[in-house]
């Protein structure tokens, strides 16, 4: 009960608890020269039901737009996953806390408003990704409710916002990513120590890969069907006591490389990233990281792996070619979450959740110097993050 010792607190009778942050626009801190280009990202505040659009460019970083999301103003609906359509005209958001099903939303980038009512998906729909043709979204139904039973990946046909498939994969699927060639969707199973590949044509499971420490390799379809799961009844996404849990991967994220050759899996419990050959379906190497790798992204130029360290409260920059750690930086607040990299591979935008009433943060890192160049405060529990667009300077 680390939390109790950290935060169980009381105030003297006359002292009111601190107010929650109320942010509209907030100046960012800047540590180096502003970029010439301008970048826009979205970040979700999971415990404030907000979508923030952040601009980073000449003049620094700021919250440019703050949008509410949800159906009920006095219920916390928990926006968690976000992705922008390939054309950049829409973005999609999942809200995890439903009664009990979570929802999938489609927003118009221009107006910042939902284009229609959301649709229900499964229990706690979390991370999502969109196929390159813009037709389908694949959403993991994380299902952190109750017993660790196999959950699913929902396929949503985006033009009509229709759930067309809900494919059972494993317990606590997380980290939905579609390969750059659009042929497959990948997610990992936090409680089953697996990487699962779906066909984006049939929406069915095509392959499984065990990431159990020391036993990495393909999972025979029959073994998966027979429920060869490792149902550890604890939450690796937490700061909870891990002492009773067999130290295995507990994967939290997967990202395919832009060259289609590799998949990178964050093992949150063993503090490493696994590199898996996508074609051969074998483990290539282990890349050690700091404490609790959570989300990661390969830079579009293929040079870097940027990994958020959830328990380590920081971010790590890895050389993809050598696996060497190039730098490790502390986040500006606690609980590092997601990362997205600009298309020119110049900047990494990292969401950091914060705790309790603390504001969430988006820390921005220069990928040449690995220094934090800006930080923007957002509402509570900054979580899902997605790149919207960039603009080169007019004279470039």
């Amino acid at each position: 009960m680390i939390w109790t010792s950290l935060l169980a607190a009381s105030l003297s009778a006359g002292e009111l608890p601190p107010s929650p942050p109320v942010l509209t626009t907030e100046a960012a801190t800047r540590a180096s020269a502003d970029p010439a280009a301008t970048y826009w990202i979205y970040v979700l505040a999971e415990s404030a039901d907000r979508i923030h659009k952040i601009r980073y460019g000449p003049g620094g970083a700021e919250v440019e737009q703050s949008l509410p999301i949800g159906m009920f103003p006095v219920m916390m609906e928990g926006p968690h996953g976000i992705q922008v359509s390939p054309r950049g005209d829409h973005f999609y958001v999942t809200t995890g806390h439903g009664i009990p099903d979570g929802k999938f939303w489609k927003f118009d980038v221009q107006t910042g408003r939902p284009v229609s009512d959301p649709i229900d998906l499964g229990r706690f729909p979390a991370t999502l990704d969109v196929t390159p043709d813009g037709l389908y979204a694949f959403v993991v139904n994380f299902n952190l409710y109750g017993a660790m039973v196999p959950s699913s990946v929902s396929t949503v046909y985006l033009p009509t916002l229709t759930e067309v498939a809900r494919t059972e994969t494993c317990a606590m699927p997380h980290g939905s990513r579609v390969s750059h060639d659009g042929l497959n969707q990948y997610s990992v199973c936090m409680m089953d120590d697996q990487l699962v590949e779906l066909s984006t044509r049939t929406f069915g499971v095509s392959r499984r890969f065990s990431v159990v420490a020391g036993e990495e390799g393909p999972v025979a379809p029959m073994a998966a069907m027979e429920g060869d799961h490792h149902h550890a009844h604890h939450d690796p996404d937490s700061h909870a006591d891990h002492s009773h849990h067999h130290p295995t991967c507990t994967p939290t994220w997967v990202d395919p490389s832009p060259d289609h050759r590799h998949l990178y899996v964050a093992c949150s419990a063993t503090d490493e990233v696994l590199e898996i050959d996508r074609e051969e379906w074998v483990l290539v190497r282990r890349i050690p990281t700091g404490r609790g790798p959570y989300n990661l992204e390969v830079s579009p130029d293929g040079r870097l792996l940027v990994v958020t360290l959830k328990q380590g409260d920081g971010v790590e920059f890895l050389d993809r070619a050598t696996g060497a750690s190039l730098a490790r930086a502390s986040s500006t607040t606690r609980v590092s979450h997601g990362v997205v990299i600009s298309p020119d591979s110049r900047y990494a935008f990292v969401s950091v959740e914060g705790v309790g009433a603390e504001p969430g943060k988006v820390d921005i890192y220069d990928l040449d110097t690995f220094e934090r160049v800006a930080s923007v405060a957002v509402r509570q529990q900054a979580a899902g993050i997605a790149f919207l667009r960039m603009e080169e300077p007019a004279d470039s």
Binding site: M1, S47, P100, F124, V130, D181, L183, D235, G356
Partner: protein
């Protein structure tokens, strides 16, 4: 028209041509440094797909049936191109696998068949070509039709009939989807109209048929000549107020003075307002069993009709006259964050306390000494890992309190149990999140057990005889659950399950064999009229009538479809006003109302009344001594007389005793009443307001005019 080929098989540089991720997006790629734009050059090329053709092009099929479906890709010359496809159809309605379409849900659906963008495939246009296949799924055939009506039909009398149709699997055909044709075997004996209202017009035998898609059900009557010569109506009610339910007795007598027990009776009334305006419609009507309730003061004439006979009884209905002053006594102001739930109790030290939660903040619960409601003093504050402490409650014996957590930093939400041995300064006894990680929206503590909601799915039952070592002993999940609240009284758990209404479960009463370890389903109320809103339940034994009632409140935090609020009915921003941006500071709006069920027979709940304030929505509920204390969001804290038999909309019956709206200019959102919960305690009413904290008011006696 443009085309592109986002795959490595087309063009000189496969890698560069590929669609690739840009940040989290994917964009079309560069080819040799130039954007690969229009595919006009490609469009006419052999092998470039311009069309997807599906066989069949449209489908009409019955639910449960299947049919082959296939697609092929064609180039501009009409030649088939080797390709694969995705089939997108609403998964609950249509399932497609292995080239076979299975129809599941009746209705109109569409299947979008799109070219799958495999690497070797080229196509015209930005998106892969696709074709929409309309699919009409018919209902399964009706196999049975049932007609219900009256026990007898006489010449000149009328009886309304109802029809139900079922499929072979026993599932019912919705009334809206059933085209019913009524007919009479002999219209000279009885006629029937399109609503199933049958009127005897002659004598003899007659069959009344209802036909649905060729399947018929019927009832038969031996229509006899009208036997009654006299109709009498009576009631024991003398002094009647608005809201009082008056029971009428009717007797039909033949020429010899014999009573005819099966004569169909229809009821109606007329009304003259006491101020003679005469414009009110008045009254919520009379049910078939002869009950009447008046909504307005005035003169009502009740009419019982059978054939050519009509009996009347005139009543004078007085204004209920229950309004009392409500006076402010004190406030525990919380102006820097939102306040959620509250509970008031007498502590083991004999003083009175309240606990309030906070919402969208740092996970605080506040403890107040309310012994003197005019001087509310905050004695302590407790913080847990959460952003919202949505629900707070105290066990009946005052031994412990529960705080529910949402927005924990590690997403392991759950329940926190407070030891109230020193009520002014509670301490955390235990933190329980086994099976509760998804978030606990509400919980209900009894002396020995806590019933804690788990993520909208179920409630988990926790033995708390040892506060410091809570132990999970059971759970209950209704199939397809949508649970929002649970309340336990005398061994029966009542839960509000949104679209399903209230669910009644034996968790220790024992009549149905239930226990905390083995909860047993008893019954359900069914959906509320506007559907989807059942939020709170409050079981109440009404001593004056011997009835068990279930108050079930909606929670609808929008006013979509209402003239007040349409277009701005859902204000999701609950922030204070920001003078820099001009945003925030706006009150929220709600709708929904209270549904009241008679559950004296727990196995057969019957909806009997409603409490519906038209321009606001219900939230939490308390009933004590025949008085309802209702948190009615922007409608304030409302006190309502629920004594006696209830029928109709009690809002329109002058049953409201008092309304208090907590305006606070220094509130988190200024002057924006939004009442979460209300609770009476030792002569005062305490309530929590979302924007301004804890309030104490008192309903005072009405001053008598001294002549």
């Amino acid at each position: 028209m443009s085309s592109h080929a986002p795959h490595p098989s087309v063009g000189p540089d496969a890698a560069a041509r590929h669609a690739h991720r840009v940040g989290s997006r994917r964009v079309l790629s560069l080819v040799g440094g130039a954007l690969l734009l229009p595919g006009l050059l490609l469009a006419q090329e052999p092998g470039v797909v311009v069309q997807v053709e599906v066989e069949p092009a449209s489908i009409q099929i019955g639910a449960g049936e299947n049919t082959p479906i296939s697609a092929r890709a064609l180039d501009a010359r009409g030649n088939e191109v080797s390709a694969e496809f995705t089939f997108a159809a609403p998964r609950g309605a249509i399932q497609i696998a292995g080239g076979v379409l299975l129809a599941v849900e009746p209705g109109y659906h569409e299947v979008v068949v799109s070219l799958f963008p495999a690497p070797e495939v080229r196509w015209e246009g930005e998106e892969p070509p696709s074709t929409v296949v309309p699919v009409t799924v018919g209902w399964p055939a009706v196999s049975e039709v049932h007609v219900t009506g009256g026990s007898a039909l006489y010449e000149g009398s009328t009886v309304r009939h109802q029809v139900s149709a079922h499929h072979a699997d026993g599932s019912p055909r919705p009334r809206r989807a059933a085209d019913v044709r009524w007919s009479s075997s002999d219209p000279s004996v009885a006629t029937v109209n399109e609503f199933g209202v049958v009127r005897g017009v002659g004598t003899g035998t007659v069959e009344i048929r209802a036909e649905v898609e060729g399947v018929a059900g019927s009832v038969s009557y031996d229509v006899r000549s009208f036997p009654a010569e006299q109709l009498e109506i009576s009631t024991e009610a003398r002094q009647v107020r608005t809201g009082d339910v008056v029971h009428f007795q009717v007797r039909a007598l033949d020429g010899q003075g014999n009573e005819i027990s099966d004569l169909p009776i229809t009821w109606s009334h007329t009304f003259i307002a006491h101020d003679s305006i005469g414009s009110h419609v008045g009254g919520s009507g009379i049910t078939r069993d002869g009950r009447f309730v008046g909504e307005y003061a005035g003169e009502y004439t009740i009419l019982a009709n059978a054939g050519r006979l009509t009996a009347t009884h005139t009543l004078w209905v007085e204004h209920r006259g229950v309004v009392q002053p409500v006076e402010f006594r004190g406030q525990g102001r919380v102006g820097n964050q939102h306040t959620s739930d509250l509970w008031v109790w007498e502590g083991v030290d004999g003083r009175d306390y309240a606990i309030t939660g906070t919402w969208g903040s740092g996970g605080w619960a506040l403890i107040w000494d309310v012994t003197d409601p005019t001087n509310i003093v905050r004695t302590d504050s407790i913080q847990v890992d959460a952003r919202t402490v949505n629900d707070v409650k105290v066990s009946p014996d005052g031994r412990y309190a529960t705080m529910t957590r949402e927005g924990a930093s590690n997403r392991r939400n759950g329940l926190v149990i407070l030891d109230l041995a020193e009520p002014a300064h509670p301490v955390i006894a235990a933190r329980f999140d086994d099976d509760l990680a998804g978030g606990v929206h509400n919980a209900f503590p009894t002396n020995d057990h806590v019933f804690a909601l788990s993520g909208g799915e179920k409630y988990v039952i926790i033995d708390v005889s040892d506060l410091y070592n809570p132990r999970r002993v059971g759970e209950f999940q209704y199939p397809g659950a949508r649970i929002h609240d649970v309340w336990v009284k005398d061994g029966i758990a009542y839960s509000a399950q949104r679209p399903y209404g209230g669910i009644i479960v034996d968790v220790g009463d024992g009549r149905w064999g239930g226990s905390p370890e083995n909860p047993v389903f008893v019954s359900k109320t069914g959906p509320t009229p506007e559907g989807g809103g059942a939020h709170t339940v409050y079981p109440y034994y009404q001593e004056s009538t011997g009835r068990m009632l279930l108050f079930m409140a909606d929670e609808i935090l929008s006013r979509e479809g209402h003239a007040l609020g349409e277009g701005a009915g859902r204000s999701l921003v609950v922030d204070p006003y920001d003078p820099e941006t001009g945003e925030g500071g706006r009150p929220s709006m709600s709708s929904g109302y209270m549904h009241i069920f008679d559950i004296t027979d727990h196995e057969n709940p019957v909806m009997i009344a409603r409490y519906h304030v038209p321009e606001a929505g219900t939230h939490n509920t308390w009933v004590e001594d025949d008085v309802l204390y209702q948190g009615y969001w922007e409608g304030g804290m409302r006190v309502v007389d629920v004594s006696g038999e209830l029928m109709g909309d009690i809002y329109t019956q002058n049953r409201e005793i008092a309304v208090f709206k907590p305006f606070d200019p220094t509130g988190y959102i200024a002057n924006a009443p939004f009442v979460w919960s209300a609770m009476p305690h030792k002569g005062h009413i305490f309530f929590s307001d979302f924007n301004s904290g804890l309030w104490a008011v008192e309903v005072t006696p009405r001053e008598q005019m001294i002549p």
